[in-house]
């Protein structure tokens, strides 16, 4: 089912928890609500589920307006952060709950529940109680319970937060598989950008109640709408500066800035992996001295000082990382930069959204 949210506002004790949110989710897509804690992402999920009331705005599920409907009548499945399993019921009764409420026949309930138990690799656990299950099993029961009534829309609140790192990876793959098999439309909330990029078809990035960017993982990563999005979905080198002589002036790094007023404030973001380290040669545009290298498993992080005291961080392959030593002088090549003006104009946002994915300018790719 497609979902549409229009001009949604939520006030709580005189503070705007959600500020004029508008977006649309296509059928069978998996969307991530990404943001730091307190950004409003969970509140929005709960409003879509009907567990909280919006202060203003409209919500459509499958074209039908639902914001006046109670959660019972929205045809959704909701997986709570701490699973919210019914402790006094067996796994079977937990999963069967929604079907029993709907007064399905016993044979149909049994058939459906066992089908789900098998799908979720929970066979043989139907008579256990929730406290007898591991965290991962509990979550799969919560999923099965939400799916039993065949919801049009599956909502998951921080589904991976309560399990440890290794299990989290398995669960992610699990949910992606399930999502594809069952042709669900689903939304999940997370504060982990890696998770959002890996699992979701589309990502909505929230900050302080505002939807800062809504797009595919690639768009979010490569053409972030705001400096916040850029720094939240990856590591960045971040500089605040002004336009000087048609260029954004970051010391030795000069970025061509079209159509920007001389002297206006700009923010510059450069991803560490877009900084290439090359052997030192005199005529290079950019030179830097290595301060520290850190081994990070499959790559190295290299912190450097540019001429003129600005610092910059690069990530390089381990083959290259091993030969770079602190105090070394190196040349740098910057593959891509992102430029933001403080007072973003709609024109800029449009421009951001229209740019082709493959564009990788040599010195300046984002400019207005």
């Amino acid at each position: 089912m497609s979902i549409e949210v229009k001009n949604l506002i939520k006030n709580f004790h005189n503070t705007e928890v959600l500020k004029n949110i508008t977006f649309q989710i296509e059928e069978e897509e998996m969307t991530a609500f990404l943001g730091p804690s307190g950004s409003g992402k969970t509140t929005l999920l709960r409003i879509i589920a009907g567990l909280e009331q919006p202060s203003a705005g409209e919500i459509y599920i499958g074209g039908e307006r639902v914001d006046h409907l109670p959660p019972q009548r929205r045809g959704i499945g909701f997986v709570f952060q701490n699973y919210a399993l019914f402790k006094h019921m067996t796994v079977f009764d937990n999963i069967a709950f929604g079907l029993k409420i709907r007064k399905r026949k016993n044979e149909i309930i049994g058939c459906k529940v066992f089908e789900l138990l098998e799908k979720m690799a929970l066979q043989g656990l139907e008579n256990r109680y929730p406290h007898q299950l591991s965290g991962g099993q509990q979550q799969r029961v919560a999923l099965a319970r939400a799916l039993a009534s065949e919801p049009k829309l599956l909502l998951l609140d921080e589904p991976f937060a309560a399990v440890d790192a290794k299990l989290r990876k398995e669960l992610r793959q699990w949910i992606v598989k399930l999502h594809e098999e069952m042709k669900l439309t689903s939304i999940f909330v997370t504060h982990d950008q890696q998770e959002a990029l890996e699992v979701a078809d589309r990502v909505a990035v929230f900050n302080q109640g505002k939807l800062e960017h809504f797009g595919t993982p690639r768009e979010i990563y490569h053409r972030p709408a705001t400096p916040f999005v850029a720094s939240f979905v990856g590591d960045v080198n971040y500089y605040q500066t002004k336009i000087k002589g048609g260029y954004a002036d970051v010391g030795p790094i000069q970025i061509k800035a079209y159509r920007l007023v001389e002297g206006s404030d700009v923010e510059v973001v450069i991803r560490p992996e877009d900084v290439r380290i090359e052997p030192y040669h005199d005529r290079a545009d950019l030179k830097a001295q290595v301060k520290q290298t850190t081994f990070l498993g499959d790559f190295f992080k290299v912190e450097m000082v540019l001429t003129g005291d600005k610092t910059i961080t690069a990530t390089v392959s381990k083959e290259q990382g091993w030969v770079i030593q602190p105090q070394d002088w190196v040349s740098l090549r910057i593959l891509s930069t992102k430029l933001f003006t403080k007072e973003r104009t709609p024109a800029l946002e449009l421009f951001h959204q229209r740019r082709p994915v493959e564009e990788l300018a040599k010195t300046a790719d984002a400019s207005l």
């Binding site: 009907g50 959660p71 499945g77 909701f78 019914f86 929604g98 406290h131």
Partner: protein, 276 residues
Amino acid sequence: MKGCSSRREQDLSAIALRSILFGYLILLIILPLGHIFGEAFREGWSGFWQSLQKAEALFTLKFTFALALFTAIVNAIAGTLTAYVLVRFPVKGKTILNALVDLPFAIPTAVSGLMLLLLYGPQSPLGSWLGDRGIDIIYAIPGIVLAMIFVTFPFSIRSVQPLLLEMGQDKEEAAKTLGASSWQTFQKVTLPMLWPGILSGFSLTFSRALAEFGSVIIVAGNIPLQTQVASVYIYGEVESFNMVGAASVSVVLLILSFTLLYAQNRWLARKRRGDR
């Protein structure tokens, strides 16, 4: 080796502290408790049995048991509903209500009895109005029940409330997203999770009502075979220096109370083990 000796010291101080604690508890609780059993059986099993066979003793035990049971049932229902409303509904003046709930515990039982006596007694307008319609409250069963309900009022609420607070709303919300109506949610999800609290409130209320003295003696007086509850009976026997009679009824009350307490603890412990 040194490591061992420092452990030894800890053990010693633990033993000393335990001894003091046990000593205190023995002097204060065990010794008096043992003595009352001794007194009840001073004239042997038959003496104990005879004391209980007296019409007044038999009546008072059955009478108190029945009224306490009734009180516990009323308060379990009213208390659970009150707790639910206090926790889950956006009720204005919640703070005041919450404070009101605890009042009966802060009122001396003799004062509670006096309050009911003054309100429903024959001298008061409400009491005489009810009396004209043939409804006697004071010096009759309704008065005793009112007194018992009054003094035990907070138990059920305070047993259920923390469970409701602790369980949060997510399980109820889950039931709703699965299609359950408010009533189905309460009945199938909330209520089953509240049973430990309801039962614990029930048994606290019951054993407290069984034991009530101050308020009942003032409201119901001391009329053998009519309004005499067990505590009042014991007091009467003590006044007339019939210690064996007093001790015998006491022992029956104690056994009832302890059994209830024990059963409840066992049940809760099993439940808790199951829940974690």
